[in-house]
Each structure stands twice: as structure tokens, then as C-alpha cells.
């Protein structure tokens, strides 16, 4: 049993930090339930889990932005009370976020000393500040000019500045949230070198990552979270990669996805030679009742392709056909007239008016049909709302609830209802399950495969491989604005195959 190991280790010397029984709930979601975690000096402790496992909630509690509902936090063996962003920093905790918090319009030294400028009688002493920043950078062997403008630096260098800043604060606990997600290989090596140096100086590092490969190089211990619950803490070198994956994925994986239904033969939707500048030379077809997956790394152009198909972005060349008829799509309104619907990538940014209620959001695409000569057909609207509420099991106290005050899963169901209200024959889903918990994910999968079984053609864009593998009939792999491979045979749709094509890129 792996579960006991973390507790024994915790008794050892040099314990920097320990969290016990941390719980935190949000409307409709239990983000963390009874989570334990500890960190020793000079250790890299990786925190793993799928999207929605509760990693980011945990970090936000560490950083003082969230208050836990229950549980205690000890630092240097002393129990600390409620933490604020300020007090968390005073305890020596520093979080290096995925999206870096540097002002791009300021110089490096200004960023390093932002908020604690060296002053004498209220006047900033530029010379001392520059010297201080230079020393902080030197301390980590970083070759960065403190006078450089921040936006001139690469992402990797900016990350180093964040780390230098954290260390110069006297941080002894540094949280790194997916630090390698946007780094090149050389930059990753430089980052790991810095991490080794920090370890030697007795700094504890909480390292959050999706990439199991890189843990082999740096991780001492690993804690896995799943659905907000603590699954286990293990010494990295005592377990195999497969064991860690099993801990992350858990047993429910098998019943998360409904079984694939056979799809029709006739081609409903066809794109040939499409180019929008952001994506080029795109050809694919979707059959009746088929779920066509689009996979690719960030920046591969999947969202841009869907925006082009849906008329959000301008198309320069190529043809789009629906049931043999050529379409002219110049705006989303045109696309909707042709019975195409798009569930956009970021529901809070593109899918919902958060300050309006459910009734408004769900009617938004069909208001021009519901309102005739200034009269809203209330019965028709209510019928529609009730229909989708029952069909998708939307859990809301009332239709007057503001969209912003719902859980992610229910929000996504509202966006789905909104898009389905135009009676699409082709439904495009862009990252349909991002940021929602596992239970709601399974529901969304059931909805998607149900719609396909009814004969709707579906395009599903996703960066989660299991989702693509278990849901889609065929898969298009994208890289650098092009489709590099279309996998037609269902038995060839495996995580390994898809990754191969993704990384192979244009070298094929």
C-alpha cells in the first residue's frame, strides 16, 4: 500500500511544509477533499493529476488566493492560520504560474523588484535596484541583463526571472505550475539546472506537470490527486511509470466513455483546400453520425481551423460543402443558417454572457426566431428551456440563475443547449470538457455520442488524448496549421500512434 509512505517520511528532519486534510468546495464541485501533502528542504515533490484533479486549487490555497474549508497548514512545524496572498509570501512560499506575472513593458530589474522598490526618502534608487537585480540573477547563474526590456526575452528567460524574483524574496518553497509547457528543449535543460541549484541550497520545490518523462530527471517524490482526492504519495524511484499512470487515471476510466456506435457511410460535410492564413491546405470530410477528432499540440491551429469553418475568420481559398451543396460562409450567422453549430473553446470567454441568466444564454442564438414583431413567444422559449434542462440534466435552481454562478459542467451544458437550439446537422466542439470535473465529463461524453447516434455529424477538437481515442471514429492530427495525418481505421486510433504523428509533424 503506497498510502502510508508519505506519513512516515513526514517524520523525518527538514520538513518545510505540511498540509493536512485540506478540503475546498465550489458551487457544484468538490475541488479538494481531505488532501495531505508535505515538502522537505532540498526536495522536488511532484504533484500530479489529470485536468480537474484539484492541482490548481491546491496551488491557489498555498498562494493564499483561496481559503480552505477545512484542514491545517504547518510551516517549519508551526501551524499557521488563514493565509492571505501577503502572508503566504512572508512564510517564504512563492508560486511561479503558468501564465507569468511580469509586466512586459518594464525592464527586468523593475520586474524583479516590483512592489518592493529600493527607496530612500520615497525616491527609487535605480542604481541599487539594478545592482540588486544583477546579483539575484547571478545567484542563479543566469546570463540576463537586468536593463533588458522584459518583452524582448523568450518565455524561458522570463520564467527564470520569475524564479530569480522568488528566490530574492527569500522563498524557501517554490511552486512551479507546468513550468515546461511552453519551453524549448534547451530552455528545459536550463530550467532543470536551476532547479538542481535550488535543491542544493535547501529550497523545496513543488513541481506540477503533465509530462511524466521529465519527472525521471528531477522528481524525488510524487503525490497524485484524482477528482480532488489524495490518491497516494510515493518515492519516485520506488514505482514504475505505469503505476503512476494507474494512480492518476483510476478505475472509472473504463466506464467514462460510452461504447462507440457505428456511423453512416454518406459524407455530410466536406472541406477541400481550405486556407485562412492561420491554417492552410485543409481537406477533410465528416460522415453522417460520425465523430471526427482533431488532435494537435497547442498552436497546431485546431481552433483557428474551426474559426475559419464557422466564419469567424476570413477564408481565402478552398471549398466547404454540406450534402453536396457548396456553402458560402462569411460570418457565424451564415454558418448557423447552414445548420452548423460551434461550441467554442473557452466557454467563459466565447460561449456565455456570464452576467446574464440561463434563459438569455440558451435563447441567444434563436432570439430572432423566438421574437416576432416585438413579442417573445414565451411558451416556445419555456418549452425549449425545459427540453434541454431535462435532456442534459442541467442542475440549476432556476432559469433566472446567472450563467456565471453555475459550475463548469453545467455551464458547458448551457453552451451545448444554446448551440443545439439552431438544429445543427454538423456540431463542432472545441475542447468540450476543459476545466470540468470527471463526473460532468462522463455526462458530456454520453451527450456527444448520443447526438452522433441520432445521426448528427460531430467534430471534436481536444488536447486530451484519452478523449480522442475513446470517443472518435476517425482522427485528424494537426501540426503547424496543417493536417499531417488522418487516421481512418478505428483500430489504429491509439495514444501512441497519435503522439507519433503529432511529434513527427511535417517530417513524414
Amino acid at each position: 500500500m503506497t498510502a502510508g509512505m508519505g506519513k512516515e517520511d513526514a517524520m523525518e528532519e527538514g520538513l518545510l511544509f505540511r498540509a493536512k486534510g485540506i478540503s475546498k468546495s465550489f458551487p457544484g464541485v468538490k475541488a479538494l477533499q481531505n488532501v495531505d501533502f508535505d515538502l522537505k528542504a532540498g526536495e522536488v515533490h511532484a504533484l500530479l493529476g489529470e485536468n480537474g484533479a484539484g492541482k490548481s486549487t491546491f496551488i491557489k490555497i498555498l498562494g493564499g488566493s483561496y481559503r480552505p474549508d477545512a484542514g491545517s497548514i504547518e510551516i517549519d512545524g508551526k501551524v499557521v492560520g488563514q493565509m492571505s496572498i501577503q502572508s503566504s509570501r512572508n512564510y517564504g512560499i512563492s508560486v511561479v504560474h503558468q501564465e507569468l506575472c511580469l509586466a512586459p513593458n518594464m525592464r527586468v530589474y523593475e520586474n524583479i523588484l516590483l512592489g518592493r522598490e529600493l527607496k530612500r526618502m520615497g525616491i527609487c534608487w535605480e542604481k541599487e535596484m539594478i545592482a540588486y537585480a544583477a546579483q539575484a540573477l547571478e545567484h542563479l547563474n543566469l546570463k540576463i541583463d537586468p536593463l533588458e526590456m522584459t518583452d524582448k526575452l523568450s518565455t524561458g528567460k522570463r520564467q527564470m526571472i520569475e524564479i530569480a524574483k522568488a528566490v530574492s524574496y527569500g522563498a524557501r518553497i517554490i511552486v512551479m505550475d507546468e513550468p515546461t509547457s511552453s519551453l524549448s528543449e534547451n530552455e528545459v535543460d536550463a530550467l532543470f539546472e536551476t532547479i538542481y541549484m535550488l535543491k542544493k541550497r535547501g529550497v523545496g520545490i513543488i513541481y506540477i506537470s503533465h509530462r511524466l518523462e521529465e519527472l525521471a530527471t528531477i522528481a524525488d517524490r510524487v503525490t497524485v490527486l484524482r477528482d480532488g482526492q489524495w490518491v497516494g504519495t510515493v518515492n519516485y524511484h520506488d514505482v514504475t511509470r505505469e503505476e503512476i499512470i494507474r494512480m492518476m487515471v483510476g478505475r472509472e476510466m473504463a466506464d467514462m466513455y460510452p461504447s462507440k456506435q457505428p456511423c453512416g457511410k454518406e459524407v455530410v460535410f466536406k472541406v477541400a483546400g481550405l486556407a485562412s492564413g492561420k491554417v492552410n491546405d485543409i481537406s477533410f470530410e465528416v460522415r453522417k453520425g460520425e465523430i471526427l477528432g482533431f488532435f494537435g499540440l497547442v498552436g497546431a491551429g485546431r481552433t483557428e481551423l474551426m474559426d475559419a469553418v464557422f466564419g469567424v475568420d476570413k477564408v481565402f481559398s478552398g471549398t466547404i460543402e454540406m450534402e453536396g451543396k457548396q456553402l458560402r460562409i462569411r460570418s457565424p450567422r451564415d454558418a448557423m443558417e447552414y445548420n452548423i453549430a460551434l461550441v467554442p473553446e473557452e466557454r467563459k470567454r466565447n460561449g456565455l454572457v456570464l452576467i446574464q441568466d440561463l434563459a438569455f444564454n440558451m435563447s441567444l442564438c434563436v432570439y430572432h426566431k423566438l421574437i416576432k414583431r416585438g413579442r417573445l413567444d414565451k411558451k416556445r422559449q419555456r418549452d425549449m428551456l425545459e427540453y434541454y434542462k431535462n435532456k442534459f440534466q442541467i442542475k440549476t435552481p432556476s432559469f433566472r440563475q446567472m450563467a456565471g454562478n453555475l459550475s463548469g459542467g453545467n455551464q458547458q451544458k448551457v453552451v451545448l443547449s444554446k448551440e443545439l437550439s439552431v438544429n445543427p446537422r454538423l456540431l463542432i466542439l472545441d475542447e468540450p470538457t476543459r476545466g470540468i470535473d470527471i463526473g460532468a465529463k462522463a455526462e458530456i461524453y454520453k451527450i456527444i455520442s448520443g447526438l452522433a447516434a441520432e445521426g448528427m455529424s460531430v467534430i471534436c477538437v481536444s488536447s486530451e488524448l484519452p478523449e480522442i481515442v475513446n470517443l472518435c471514429h476517425r482522427v485528424c492530427v494537426m501540426s503547424d496549421g496543417r493536417i499531417v495525418k488522418t487516421i481512418d481505421r478505428e483500430e489504429e486510433i491509439t495514444q501512441e500512434r497519435i503522439m507519433e504523428y503529432t511529434l513527427g509533424g511535417g517530417h513524414e
Binding site: Q356, C365, T396, F399
Partner: protein
């Protein structure tokens, strides 16, 4: 079952504008106690006439603010439309045609604003600040800086006349326009789209809404209403004056904000704005009756706006918390069932 509307329309309406109504009640009761002249028919009609020009502009302003924008040009547009109308009448143009001309001047200015804002992406604040400056200059050039007297009675009746010997004509015009803009905002897709764009522009785009058209129309409406206000004001003053509308845009913004609109867009209604205009009108009238200096009125206005916005923010926070708790309770019940 019928949880789309849990409260009746009337109750809903009053709870939505609770803050403004509280203010109105306090002020009306206070003023009635202080001055016995306050709650007389003639004084009430007087207040309504005083607010009519501001309310008409504020309706248009509400549309712009709902979009997340603003229209700073309305004060200057008032000057241009008033001056032009007076000039045309003096030149012998048919009075109604001249008035229509004045109003259309406003429409053109508004369309100019709207087209620029929606198509170039320059912030509304900047665009309308520029057109304010341009219109100000035009008004002075047209008049060479002097007021243009106009005593044509068919014209001045629109500022000073009464209907049925009791209700001032501007008040009637204000009420007709109010009915119109309320209908547009609440009952038509145009209104729904205004809320959608102000609430989340990207979402509106993905929902297939023609943002450029809706935005251009809204600013055109604001300009048109400023044109109407300019004509009424010129009629009321028996002259077109190049500085008649100075500062009116700020009063219109004040009325809109007191009426519950959010400056970031998406929240508010002309139904609140007319109450906001009323609050400002009653306050000014009351202070006049108390013979307070003008400067006290400006201080009072500042305090009232702040208090109204504070109350609104607080109310919204409470409502949001109530909804979050309801959602949490539901989730709790739900997980209890499955466990």
C-alpha cells in the same frame, strides 16, 4: 414548474430598481416636509419638464453604456442641432422640416460615431471625444459665437407649450420616446443583442450577431435622441445657442449610472435611467426650493451618484451570493443522493 419567472413582473421591476426607489422615496418625503410647495401638481410638472431634455439624451446614453461604450458627443450635438434648426426656421424653411433637419443632423453625427467605433476598434471614449470637439467647433462657426433668436410660435411651442393646458409638451415627447426605447430594449432582438454584446462581445460574435450593425444603430440612436433634445432645448430658449448643451453628456451619464447601469456594459435599462433622471431633477428642484446655491447642488449630485452606485454594487453582490448558495445547496443534495 414555471421557474422562468418566479416573481411577477411588477415585483421584479421594483426589486430591480430598489436602490433608486429608496432614494426617490427618501427625497420626496424629505422635500415634502421641508417645503409645502414641493408636492404640488405644478411643481411636479415643472420637475418633469426640467428633466425631459436630460432624460431623452440619457436614454441614448444608456444604449451606449450597455454596449460597454459611451457617447461624449451628445452635449455638442445638442448645440449643433439646435443652432441649425433655428437658422433654418429663420431662413424660411418649413418649421417641421427644419426640426426634422436638426434631428437628422444628430443622426448623422451618431452614425459617424457608431461606424467608426464598430469598424475601426477605436475606443468609444476617444471617438466621441473627437466628435464632441468637432461639433463644438461647428456650432460656434455656424453662429459666429452668438445666439440665434427664433420666436416662431409653431416652433417654440415644442419647448414651452402645454397639451390639454396642463402637461408640458417636452414631457409628452419624453414619455413617447421612453415607451419607444423601452420597447426596443426589452422586446426586440436589437435590445437582446445590445445586452449580449455588452455582456460578452466574443460570445455575441460566436452567436452570429452582427456586432457592427447593432453598434452603429445604437450610436445612431443616441445621436438622433441628442438631435431631438437639441430641438426641444432651442424651442424652450427661443433661440439656438452654440453652448446650450455644454456638460449635458455628464448629466446623462449620471442619470444612467444612478439608474443602475454598469459602466463596463451589459447591465442596466432605460427604465432605471428615467428614474435616475428623476432623482437628479428632484434633488435640484428641492435644493432650489431651499434656495441653496448652485454649488451645493453639484456636491449633492456627486454624493447621490456615489451612494446609488454603492447600493447597487452591494445589491448585486448579495444576489450573486444568494445564487451561489442555491447552486451549492443543489450540488450538496445531489452528491448526497449519489453517495
Amino acid at each position: 414548474m414555471n421557474n422562468l419567472k418566479t416573481k411577477s413582473g411588477v415585483v421584479n421591476y421594483f426589486s430591480k430598481y430598489l436602490g433608486v426607489y429608496a432614494f426617490l422615496c427618501i427625497m420626496v418625503i424629505g422635500m415634502t416636509m421641508i417645503s409645502d410647495k414641493f408636492l404640488t401638481v405644478s411643481n411636479v410638472l415643472n420637475i418633469l419638464r426640467q428633466i425631459s431634455v436630460n432624460a431623452i439624451i440619457a436614454f441614448g446614453m444608456t444604449y451606449c453604456i450597455l454596449l460597454g461604450g459611451i457617447d461624449l458627443s451628445v452635449g455638442a450635438v445638442i448645440c449643433v442641432s439646435g443652432v441649425l434648426t433655428a437658422l433654418m426656421i429663420n431662413a424660411g424653411v418649413n418649421v417641421y422640416a427644419a426640426m426634422l433637419g436638426g434631428i437628422l443632423t444628430g443622426s448623422v453625427a451618431g452614425m459617424f460615431n457608431g461606424a467608426l467605433i464598430s469598424r475601426t476598434g477605436i475606443p468609444a471614449f476617444v471617438v466621441t471625444l473627437c466628435s464632441q470637439s468637432i461639433c463644438n467647433g461647428l456650432a460656434y462657426i455656424i453662429t459666429t459665437g452668438k445666439p440665434i433668436a427664433c420666436n416662431n410660435e409653431t416652433f417654440t411651442v415644442f419647448g414651452n407649450g402645454y397639451i390639454a393646458n396642463a402637461i408640458p409638451v417636452p414631457v409628452v415627447i419624453m414619455l413617447i420616446i421612453f415607451a419607444l426605447v423601452l420597447f426596443l430594449l426589452v422586446k426586440t432582438t436589437f435590445g437582446k443583442y445590445i445586452y449580449a454584446i455588452g455582456g460578452n462581445r466574443d460570445c455575441a460574435r460566436y452567436a452570429g450577431i452582427n456586432i457592427e450593425r447593432v453598434e452603429t444603430l445604437a450610436y445612431t440612436l443616441s445621436g438622433t435622441l441628442a438631435g431631438v433634445a437639441g430641438v426641444i432645448l432651442a424651442a424652450r430658449m427661443y433661440s439656438g445657442q452654440p453652448n446650450a448643451g455644454d456638460g449635458y453628456e455628464l448629466n446623462a451619464i449620471a442619470a444612467t449610472v444612478i439608474g443602475g447601469a454598469s459602466m463596463t456594459g451589459g447591465i442596466g435599462s432605460v427604465a432605471g435611467t428615467i428614474l435616475g433622471a428623476l432623482v437628479i431633477g428632484i434633488m435640484n428642484n428641492g435644493l432650489n426650493l431651499m434656495k441653496a446655491q448652485y454649488y451645493y447642488q453639484t456636491i449633492a449630485k456627486g454624493v447621490v451618484i456615489l451612494a446609488a452606485v454603492l447600493l447597487d454594487t452591494y445589491k448585486r453582490k448579495m444576489e450573486s451570493r444568494r445564487q451561489l448558495e442555491a447552486a451549492a445547496r443543489m450540488a450538496e443534495k445531489d452528491s448526497g443522493k449519489t453517495d
